[in-house]
């Protein structure tokens, strides 16, 4: 992940805190309760803003010529960039594909792609994808009776 200076992260946190605080001010208060629903989130927003500003001040006081952000080592290695990007890609693909396709088809496809992105060879990737998907199906659906998304392959099972 990017390493950023405390100046940058402090500003971001102060911004988030302010946004939380301003949003809380729009919550209507209820007459009977001495605590309005805006009080607690408002307090959280205020503390986050203060912490963010404190980080900014501390970072400015140090005066060390720190860059705003440092490009980490892994971003210079294409293999690692692909592996890192494969993680969110797999989550998103599973979220989008599993409702229409069902668990087994999605899991085989996503695992296969994920293993290829981690530079495992095609045969191994296919084998692991199949074995893992069937094992997960057995553990969740057959042993623990947890429903997984139902789809094309599940419909063919007895």
């Amino acid at each position: 992940m990017l390493k950023v200076s405390d100046l940058a992260s402090g500003l971001a946190i102060a911004g988030l805190g302010l946004a939380i605080l301003l949003r809380a001010r729009t919550f209507p208060s209820v007459g009977a309760s001495p605590v309005s629903p805006a009080f607690y989130p408002g307090l959280i927003g205020a503390v986050l803003t203060a912490c963010g500003l404190a980080l900014v001040v501390m970072s400015l006081k140090k005066k060390a010529a720190l860059p705003i952000a440092v490009i980490p080592d892994w971003m210079r290695r294409p293999g690692n960039v692909v592996a890192v990007l494969a993680v969110p890609a797999a989550i998103i693909a599973y979220g989008l594909l599993s409702p229409p396709l069902g668990f087994l088809a999605t899991s085989v496809l996503v695992t296969f792609g994920l293993l290829l992105a981690f530079r495992v060879n095609v045969l191994w990737s296919a084998g692991v994808a199949l074995v893992l998907s069937v094992s997960l199906h057995v553990i969740f659906v057959m042993l623990m009776r947890v429903p997984l998304p139902y789809g094309v392959i599940e419909a063919m099972l007895p």
């Binding site: 992940m1 209820v30 963010g52 980080l55 993680v87 989550i91 979220g95 692991v128 429903p147």
Partner: protein, 496 residues
């Protein structure tokens, strides 16, 4: 407490199967460098969702005890800690191994871990019910202060920069406010989505912060292959017995320090390992030998990190305030199961509490035979290709997070919090306070609101009762004393 009934509850075929399976899982995750005990617990949560409370908590207890020990194995074999809890003494253990004492050091790790684990368990069994008696008299005012003390301790212990710790805590508290407000039922920070009305799913948040963030980090270093580990020779178990007997007081001290640090909210096995090692060196007769392959500190720290696990359950069960990040997960599981961690657990679900105690003892006894197997298997386990292992863990996280609510939205939560958790860790923001904030956020707000309604908006009521006043004093002292000390230091350096 009825231990016969508790033993009967635990010695059911299904519960024993769950304990055995999670033991093997814990040993495996613990011996894989970079995969932590907390991650192992987080990965178990979706499975425990469908179990009764005893096997559910039993799985997490067993898995964490096993993985904290197993973290020592790659430390001695490769100089790489399997979990952060073993980090304090890896070079010591590795140097011993290079001198041909690999079996001895692993045996000491195993015996000291089991001893520490049982010590922490005994402390839990003796302390928790007594404390619960006192806690039964607590009202919402006391709970309010107690939750604040727990959150403060967690924040101050875990971060080198206090502002980063506070930021992490308040991010967690903020996430807990998302959803319908408890008193008025109005939606807060839901951005109009129905999926957020019920709040941020705790299981998804835990998997995101602990598993996905970890996977991102591992994926970014995947090119670094592990060196081939050494071979363990001979009968392992007996080789460490003489060292443990010689340093028996060190093992005991490790147990005491680990238990106390476990009880303190926010400090867990990782910090226990470091502090016990440092204490061991400070009071050693031969401090010059530390760092050259000396077993003394290893005894202290191996006992200490396992002892902290039991200690952490004391505040978790008695007050509902987690002592470390693993018990934060346990509290989440208990809440999902409809149990409210707190003193009433001992009266309403006393059988479950006794069963948890029995699981603790069983897990630490199982540690010796299963730990021996793990040591023997380590050479093969450490050869497993990380490029295949990480995708498998990722798929398991995705399927687990999705299966709990069958909600695609939970996947976006694990992704978002995975990125946030990774960013925070890389930039010096600790994760543990955020998880505590997320788990305790609702309790803090509810106890504050209830107290305010009871008192009709009068803040004096918060410190009126003697215990509440005392707790309030402790709370303010926690924040003011370190600040004053820092000011004094700044003053004295300026004077010269």
């Amino acid at each position: 407490m009825n231990f016969v009934a508790a033993i009967q509850t635990v010695f059911q075929p299904f519960t024993l199967f769950v304990i055995g399976a999670s033991a093997i899982f814990g040993l495996f995750v613990g011996s894989m460098p970079g995969l932590t005990a907390t991650m192992a617990a987080a990965l178990l949560v979706p499975l425990t969702f469908y179990m009764d409370p005893v096997p559910a908590i039993g799985a997490i207890v067993t898995c964490s005890a096993m993985s904290i020990f197993a973290g020592d194995i790659p430390g001695a074999l490769l100089r790489i800690p399997g979990t952060p809890a073993s980090a304090a003494y890896v070079s010591e253990a590795y140097l011993l191994g290079r001198r041909g004492e690999l079996s001895r050091v692993l045996s000491v790790n195993l015996l000291a871990s089991a001893f520490g684990g049982i010590f922490g368990t005994m402390a839990l069994i003796l302390l928790a019910p007594q404390l619960a008696q006192i806690a039964l008299r607590f009202s919402s005012y006391e709970y309010f202060w107690l939750a604040l003390i727990g959150l403060s301790a967690a924040t101050l212990i875990s971060a080198s920069n206090p502002f980063k710790g506070i930021t992490s805590l308040f991010l967690g508290l903020f996430l807990a406010t998302v959803g319908l407000d408890v008193v008025t039922g109005m939606p807060r920070y839901t951005f109009g989505t129905v999926d957020l009305m019920g709040g941020v799913s705790l299981i998804a948040a835990l998997i995101g912060l602990f598993a996905i963030a970890e996977l991102f980090r591992k994926a970014s270093t995947i090119h670094e292959d592990l060196p081939p580990p050494e071979q363990v020779k001979g009968a392992i178990l007996l080789q460490g017995v003489s060292s443990i007997m010689f340093y028996k007081w060190n093992a005991l001290r490790g147990g005491v320090i680990g238990t106390i640090l476990g009880i303190l909210p926010g400090a867990g096995a990782d910090i226990a390992g470091w502090i016990s090692y440092a204490v061991s060196k400070r009071f050693s007769k031969t401090p010059e030998k530390f760092g050259t392959g000396h077993i003394e500190g290893v005894v202290d720290a191996s006992a200490s990190n396992n002892a902290s696990l039991g200690g952490a359950y004391v505040p978790a069960l008695v007050f509902g305030i987690p002592g470390d990040s693993i018990t934060a997960i346990v509290i989440g599981v208990l809440l999902i199961k409809g149990m409210n961690p707190g003193p009433t657990v001992f009266t309403q679900s006393g059988d479950i509490v006794s069963a948890i105690f029995v699981v603790f003892i069983l897990a630490n006894l199982l540690l010796i035979p299963l730990g021996l197997l793990a040591i023997k298997a380590a050479r093969h386990v450490l050869r497993i290709n990380q490029r295949i292992l990480l995708p498998i863990i990722l798929m398991f996280s995705i399927v687990g997070a999705f299966a709990v609510n069958n909600a695609v939205f939970d996947l976006w939560i694990i992704l978002a919090l995975g990125v946030v958790g990774w960013f925070m860790e890389e930039n010096g923001f600790p994760i543990a306070p955020m998880v505590l904030g997320l788990v305790l956020g609702k309790i803090v707000e509810e106890s504050f609101t209830n107290s305010m309604i009871k008192a009709g908006g009068d803040l004096v009521a918060f410190v009126d009762r003697p215990i509440a006043g005392g707790l309030a004093f402790v709370f303010f002292a926690i924040w003011i004393v370190p600040a004053l000390m820092r000011l004094r230091r700044a003053w004295s350096t300026r004077a010269f």
